[in-house]
Assembly symmetry: C2
Homo-oligomer: 490 residues x 2
């Protein structure tokens, strides 16, 4: 391949999404410069403190795997990933309940953010045409000439000319590329940045002295406490990374727990089984500044046909569906497919990219926001669990008619998020009706329950209903094609 | 009065809201510096071109009057204002239909933006302790020391020290104060700026040669054409200022009408009665750049206890409810009342101000957005008009139970916007049910219709229902206190 006549491409931000994009575009014959403000974390493990303020591990699921498979990195990453086949719910009395995520062979995978990022950067460096520039901090962008300016230590102000090229902003939730675009006069850019009431800190449950896991390894552990929750994901070294999500302000909040006594009482009261396992929870709580959670919406994603946003820079979401990185990886996969489809003609590719992604990313932002309630409150609710059981049973009986919402989002990478959201809303209506059946707690296994479900699903989940709510060009079509979807083995 | 021990106050932006605020605070004994980036428009009428890109006249209604009355400027402004007692709907065949805005003695008033702004600035200058600084463009704000920096011609960079004081950002939709606050590190400011699909240009219908009005004077004229509309407000000189609202892009839009032929055909087809009255509509359409319409939400309004946003800077809305300036004036009135209530103690006043206003401003932003459909589409719809007639009749029968939404917003200044929105939603549910009665078109005057309405209103508009949806400290209480509200004669 040659980059003859092809645009030069600058990618700002070498997080997982920027690095994956660099690999994909290089393999299509583009010369790619990948800029990152942080230093290279690879020579020295201690440099991983660089990732401070970002979560330590992430849940990779089928949309992410599909993108990694496209560049052949899936097996290498899977070798260090830990499958989590269920939620493990820790009640306040210490009792445990297992909630499978999907069918028996389905799982989400705990991976190290730093690890996957480093593997992707290493792969990017190995591509012909890719140059990675660490410690390059974007200072300016000229949208007309397409040139970027960076502060680079030792080199002072470095200008990089992208006159022939394109610039991707893969620089995260607080994207500088995005901010510079918003300051352009005459652009009509709609934008929102919403801080959630919750913030988070990370805590650790270490491995036992023999290196084994102190809790069930193949699970995502949740301590749902309604307005706050603790979760834990396993790491390959036998430890768990825990995250405490709680309101920043208010009656019970990061701010209200302002001395060691209160914090100690808090952990003892709400997380009695986790408390003795956690490494210095009280001291860590007192020492750490809670990180914010926010949502970003912006429209358009493409500015002056030269600059496009991707990943969190375009659509930052909360982590409650485990889809942030998966969604960013999907951005890259879809963009890469559009490069082929439009034969490298970027004036067509970029608008098609926004068209394909914007609606779906809005949908997953919304779904992720709603999922806080499901994780922190409903996960411990008996009626909610019954609803899940009925859905799971019906889905097994009629997989062509019903895939539970969680599975559509997590295990159905060819089903666009917007369609999952739309179908999920109809499913909710149907299940509300089913849950109103008299004595459903006793009769949930009765045939009549599933006859009603079948009838309602037939009636409300017709292809026509769904076609109206979904209009995605990459959509495999309305619900009746669900059964045809390829399954990505997880 | 003396400003002994009182904070010095800087107000950035001498539009109608900034100037009104200056008057109110000066009368409470504060030293106020009012900064404006534009030159003074008063010495020379031609300087009114300075208001370019802003609408020429505005609809002042009871919330605005209440604030103006508080500073004694209402009579002076009313002398130059034109009451509009109804909408005058221009059908595509040129036929006219009159829709009263409220009861016989109720009106909204057409005023000149420049005129009211100049009167307020003149009044501000007359207050002891107020200094007005034109051609002062804000360049920086130090939120810790409370100092502002301005570019002032002839004076170069001028720094104004507000170390002892407070700063109000009354600098409009694209507020610089707001932008500087957002750039502060460590603040968690949620923010959105949304561009509407519609933009607008202004056109003119001149006075006739003898100075009289070419259309009904005491009306707000509307040519509702579903996805777009033309409106006209009367001016004291016999002319009308017209505004064409239309999508910026799309099948029929400012962009699609790209030559004189198309524009001419457009006006002839959709505005046949207005076309011959308008001054050079085609040339004006071709020459003018459409102005954008946008919504602004921000939270918090108060930053580091020193800086507060007010008016459009805090809550820009679309003009479809005629409430933008009225709402900004209400901000000033409420703030001024809180100064007394909290005995000049600003650490209490500013949070109480945000608490009192934020929810209500969110409500009017939403109501104004929804009203585009009512003005541009429903205003010409027979069933919608019937609904309005039934509501009006019922409201006359039971004013203690039912005030139409438009009247709650426009003619009930002591009813908070959030309560109007909440009550309006219950009213909509009730009217949906009434409109579903068989043959309502024929039977709308029948007693049984109003018995049903009475029953539904009694049932759904209980104080309890409403208390739950409304929680405003300045609220006069739930719906059953509506009947006690004082009426502001318009």
């Amino acid at each position: 391949m040659t980059n003859q006549g092809k645009e030069d491409i600058a990618i700002v931000g070498a997080g997982p999404v920027g690095a994956l994009l660099a690999v994909m575009l290089a393999r299509k014959g583009y010369k790619v410069d990948l800029f990152e403000s942080r230093p290279d974390s690879r020579p020295d493990a201690s440099a991983r403190a660089l990732y401070q303020g970002k979560s330590i591990n992430l849940a990779l699921s089928d949309r992410g795997w599909l993108a990694l498979k496209a560049i052949g990195l899936d097996e290498e990453i899977r070798a260090q990933a830990i499958p989590m086949t269920c939620r493990m719910i820790h009640a306040i009395d210490g009792s445990l309940a297992r909630q499978p995520y999907g069918r028996e062979n389905q799982a989400i995978w705990s991976v190290s953010r730093a690890g996957i990022n480093e593997q992707l950067i290493t792969l990017a460096e190995q591509q012909a045409g890719v140059e990675v520039h660490f410690e390059h901090k974007l200072t300016g962008l000229d949208f007309n000439s397409g040139s970027c300016a960076f502060d680079a230590p030792g080199k002072g102000q470095e200008r990089v000319d992208c006159r022939r090229g394109l610039i991707f902003g893969a620089d995260g939730t607080f994207s500088k590329v995005r901010r510079l675009a918003q300051e352009l006069p005459g652009q009509r850019i709609s934008y929102s940045l919403d801080y959630m009431p919750q913030s988070y800190i990370e805590l650790t449950i270490p491995a036992s002295s023999d290196g084994s896991f102190l809790m069930e390894k193949n699970a995502l552990h949740i301590w749902p406490r309604k307005n706050f929750m603790l979760i834990a994901l396993p790491n390959p070294d036998g430890s768990f990374t825990c995250t405490l999500f709680m309101d920043l302000q208010g009656a019970l909040s990061f701010e209200s727990l302002d001395d060691e006594h209160k914090v100690s009482d808090f952990f003892r009261k709400y997380f009695p089984d986790a408390m003795p396992l956690l490494t210095d929870p009280v001291a860590t709580f007192m020492a750490k500044a809670p990180s914010p959670l926010c949502l970003v919406h912006i429209d358009p994603w493409v500015i002056q046909e030269k600059v496009a946003l991707i990943g969190d820079a375009a659509h930052a979401m909360v982590p409650f569906y485990g889809q942030g990185m998966n969604c960013g990886f999907e951005d890259c996969r879809v963009l890469s497919e559009l490069v082929e489809q439009h034969q490298h003609h970027w004036p067509d590719i970029l608008p098609a990219y926004q068209q394909a992604r914007k609606e779906n990313c809005d949908a997953i932002i919304e779904l992720a926001k709603r999922n806080f309630v499901e994780m922190s409150d409903l996960a411990g609710d008996a009626r909610f669990l019954l609803r899940k059981k009925i859905e799971a049973k019906f889905s097994e009986m009629h997989p062509e008619l019903w895939i539970p919402l969680y599975s559509m989002v997590t295990f159905s990478p060819e089903l666009p998020y917007a369609q999952a959201l739309a179908v999920g809303e109809v499913q909710k209506e149907i299940m509300d009706e089913v849950m109103n059946l008299p004595d459903i707690e006793q009769n949930w296994q009765a045939d009549c329950t599933y006859r009603l479900l079948y009838q309602l699903a037939q009636e409300k989940l017709t292809p026509n209903t769904l076609a109206k709510t979904v209009s995605n060009p990459l959509s495999p079509g309305p619900l009746n094609s669900l059964s045809q979807q390829k399954e990505v083995k997880a």
